[in-house]
């Protein structure tokens, strides 16, 4: 769904974007003039480019609108792996919205929060902005918020839950990676070549001067477009399609921690980055290190052919605090993804591995 308008209006506070990535963040989001939000219409200012990801992070079904602002005359530099090199001065903007009723997801959208990730001279800094009830502007809220939200889901059922607007410090739970054993750095997660490579998005970035060094598109990998499975009949997908979609889902939703450069990945030795090909490290017959109640009473992260007895699957299908994963930012169960990951685990039966002490798979 595209609710934004690519029109350069003089509407945004009546002037160009006004960002100082090294200064104190303003109290009100509107002071930055990044975009306008009026009557359910999102209008980005000149120089602010909206973008979409192939496989986005699941955030309790929130509708997310992403955009990037690059300083005048500067461009991102292409990298095949990881996030593009984004120059100092870059601002990544992510807004989280909910409709009243997901049967009409474009209608009655309300802005809940907008998160900014700003590339200052000393590195990236994250700021949460919380939207006013009147939807006129958002205010800097370093402490974030735990909000009681409700909506009608796609099946027409009422859903009520606690939605986390992360504290500034909690942004680092996902965005701070290890660099060396005792070192840390804050980095963006979404804008990778694989996840941005959809339609003509990358060539448009290159054409508009936002991206330098883009190779021929045929050489650029791409993550699975979530639209191909999120509303699809998974029965109609081949095992190969399931596997690739599942690995990309795990990559986006888990690998910011569960990778060889993530603290939790190192501690648990569970690496869910899409390009990890070692079955033990993506959980096959691997016992958890310190999962506590997160085991659900099961023994292994992944039991090939048996999602029900796989801890990874259990931690996705539960909504118990203390047991579920990810560690932060989810209150509701992503049922469709649970189904997808379940089918991936069923397909791992093909590895021909039997975990010690597990009942034979039916």
């Amino acid at each position: 769904m595209r609710i934004w308008l690519l029109v350069a209006l003089a509407a945004c506070g009546g002037g160009p974007v006004r960002v100082d990535v090294d200064g104190e963040p303003p109290e009100r989001l509107g002071q930055l003039r990044l975009f306008d939000w009026n009557d359910g219409e999102l209008t980005y200012n000149d120089g602010v480019t909206p973008y979409e990801l192939n496989t986005p992070l699941f955030s309790d079904f929130a509708v997310k609108e992403r955009a990037i602002w690059l300083p005048e005359g500067e461009a991102a530099t292409y990298t095949a792996a990881g996030v593009f090199d984004l120059p100092v001065g870059t601002v990544l903007i992510k807004s989280f919205l909910f409709p009243d009723d997901f049967r009409a997801p474009d209608r009655d959208l309300r802005m809940i929060e907008t998160r900014l990730l700003m590339h200052g001279s000393d590195g990236w800094v994250a700021y949460p902005y919380l939207w006013d009830a009147d939807q006129k502007d958002a205010r800097l809220k370093l402490g974030g918020a735990v909000k009681d939200l409700s909506f009608v889901d796609a099946n027409g059922d009422d859903v009520a839950f606690s939605y986390l607007v992360p504290q500034k410090n909690q942004c680092l739970d996902c965005h701070e990676h290890k660099s060396g054993f005792f070192g840390r750095e804050v980095i963006p997660i979404g804008p990778t070549a694989r996840n941005l490579n959809r339609g003509d998005q990358l060539t448009a970035w290159e054409r508009d001067g936002l991206l330098a060094g883009l190779p021929a598109l045929a050489e650029v990998g791409s993550a699975v477009d979530q639209d191909t499975w999120i509303d699809a009949d998974l029965d109609a997908m081949s095992q190969d399609e399931i596997d690739r979609a599942a690995r990309d889902y795990l990559d986006v939703n888990c690998a910011h921690c569960h990778s060889p450069s993530g603290s939790e990945g190192i501690a648990s030795q569970l690496f869910l980055n899409w390009d990890n090909e070692d079955p033990f490290h993506f959980g096959v017959c691997k016992e958890p290190g310190s999962a506590g109640n997160g085991t659900g009473g099961y023994s292994y992260d992944v039991v090939p052919g048996n999602p029900e007895r796989s801890i990874l699957h259990f931690r996705m299908r539960t909504d118990e605090l203390g047991s579920m994963m990810p560690d932060i930012g989810r209150s509701l169960v992503d049922e469709k993804a649970v189904d997808l990951i379940g089918r991936w685990i069923l397909g791992l039966d093909g590895l021909g591995v039997q975990c010690e002490g597990e009942p034979p798979t039916p």
Binding site: Q167, S290, S331
Partner: protein, 468 residues
């Protein structure tokens, strides 16, 4: 006249300020007691104010928590600022209650910051871990309590006080109870002093895991499933070494295992101390009493992970100091294995009343180490020191000369000490296992009558120890 008035006015306003700062609920410690330039006092009735203050913390800043219970709906997170202090009015007076947490969080109090001081408050009913400090250097944890109000329950959070991947940590005067995994868990740390703490009512009381250079003393570890344990887990790049466990009380650790799962689920009730897959460990001058399965065990890592290949670590990825460890190498010389337990010295410990009722229960339907011990010893009291003899080149149940001590396990012939070498691999295959199969030497326990490797290398905390 004018010049005379000035000091009087200044004094008056200083007095006014002082009374304002010394607000009710900050009797024990207030911002005036701290050197921090940037200091905020937060009252217990203002949990949102606490969250805001935490996220506004600048480097070197401090937050003083007032007396009372903070009812939290979100986690207390300290990240992105070094040199910070979070201090309360004492563990009995300032309570952070996470029982009403509304969204998932890795820990109640979740800290990644260098040179951080956490002191004088309690952390209650955290759904996952209570206090976790990760990836940090220079950490003081003092006078903290972590607990769960339901008492021992499988649904409780996993860890109480949990410094992990920390260099230089001082953990003292704290109390940890009712964790469904470990009360105090010092994991993958380099340079740790753990002293004068109490761990009770947990599955594991006090754990030192994959840690280098730790001085652990003056702790009271009682009423847990397992008491005070030292071990490496497979696949972790910090190879444990130089652990000094002394002058602790490890008593009455007989609580039924209530862990939901994980490695800790394998600990038999009645376990005092074990040293597993660890090296250069001295356990001396501790008091052991009434641990029903046994006081001390020296175990190879293969007891919990039987596949040696899972214990393989490439040299390139190792963290910390591995000089002088003489670790077993693979054929190419590029990797090491750390399942073996070597250079362990046990001496000067006192023992009484232990080993009288080993925990024979099955773990998820399968016999465990406790089951093996119970079957083997039957009605006899279990020896105070058990050695699994895994990795030894020679074993004989009768002839001292038929036993190797390749792993250099040294056991002092102190009063009350008895010793048994199990040859656990073979014993666990026997039906039934019997004491005839066990080597039970009389003092001086040859060939385990060695003096040991010398002294442990003590942790270097730098100036951390001097923190007021």
């Amino acid at each position: 006249m004018h010049s005379n008035q000035m000091p009087t006015l200044a004094a008056l306003s200083a007095l006014a300020l002082a009374s304002a700062c010394k607000r009710e609920g900050f009797d024990d410690v207030s911002c005036r007691d701290l050197e921090a330039e940037d200091c905020v006092q937060v009252s217990a009735d203002d949990p949102d104010g606490l969250i805001e203050a935490l996220n506004g913390l600048a480097a070197g800043g401090a937050i003083v928590l007032g007396e009372g219970t903070f009812t939290m709906d979100n986690a207390v997170v300290i990240r992105g600022a070094d040199g910070v202090t979070l201090i309360g009015q004492g563990m009995d007076a300032t309570r952070l209650d996470f029982g009403g947490l509304k969204t998932q969080a890795p820990a109640g109090v979740d800290v990644i910051a260098n040179d951080v001081r956490l002191e004088g408050f309690a952390v209650i009913d955290a759904p996952k871990d209570a206090l976790r400090v990760e990836d940090s250097d220079g950490v003081v944890i003092r006078g903290i309590e972590t607990t769960w109000s339901a008492g021992a329950a499988t649904e409780n959070g996993a860890y109480g006080i949990y410094p992990v991947k920390v260099s230089r940590v001082l953990l003292e005067d704290s109390v940890a109870s009712y964790a469904s995994d470990a009360g105090i868990y010092v994991g993958q740390c380099v340079n740790a002093v753990v002293r004068n703490n109490t761990a009770s009512g947990n599955v594991a009381g006090l754990e030192i895991e994959n840690t280098q250079f730790a001085d652990v003393y003056g702790n009271t570890v009682t009423d847990n499933t397992g008491g005070l344990v030292v071990f490496d887990l497979p696949g972790n790049p910090v190879v444990g070494r130089d652990i000094w466990i002394h002058d602790n009380e490890v008593t009455d650790n007989n609580r039924a295992n209530f862990a939901p799962g994980g490695t800790v689920r394998m600990i038999p009730a009645g376990t005092g101390t074990f040293s597993m897959a660890s090296r250069r460990v001295i356990i001396e001058d501790n008091t052991y009493a009434n641990n029903n399965t046994g006081d001390l065990a020296v175990l190879a890592g293969l007891v919990v992970q039987g596949d040696p290949e899972q214990w393989k670590l490439s040299k390139a990825e190792l963290v910390g100091v591995v000089d002088g460890l003489d670790l077993e190498e693979d054929a190419t010389g590029t990797s090491i294995y750390n399942w073996r337990t070597t250079d362990v010295v046990l001496r000067g410990n006192s023992h009484s009343g232990s080993g009288t009722a080993p925990d024979a229960s099955l773990i998820d339907g399968a016999p465990g180490l406790g089951t093996l011990i119970a079957l083997t010893w039957g009605d006899l009291a279990v020896d105070t020191v058990l050695y699994d003899a895994i990795g030894e080149s020679a074993f004989d149940p009768v002839d001292p000369a038929g036993n190797s001590n390749d792993n250099r396990i040294c056991i002092g012939a102190d009063p009350g000490v008895t010793m048994a070498s199990l040859d656990a691999e073979n014993l666990s295959q026997a039906f039934p296992p019997t004491l005839d199969m066990v080597y039970r030497p009389a003092p001086p326990f040859a060939p385990f009558d060695c003096a040991g490797f010398g002294e442990v290398i003590l942790p270097d905390l730098g100036d951390l120890d001097q923190t007021p």
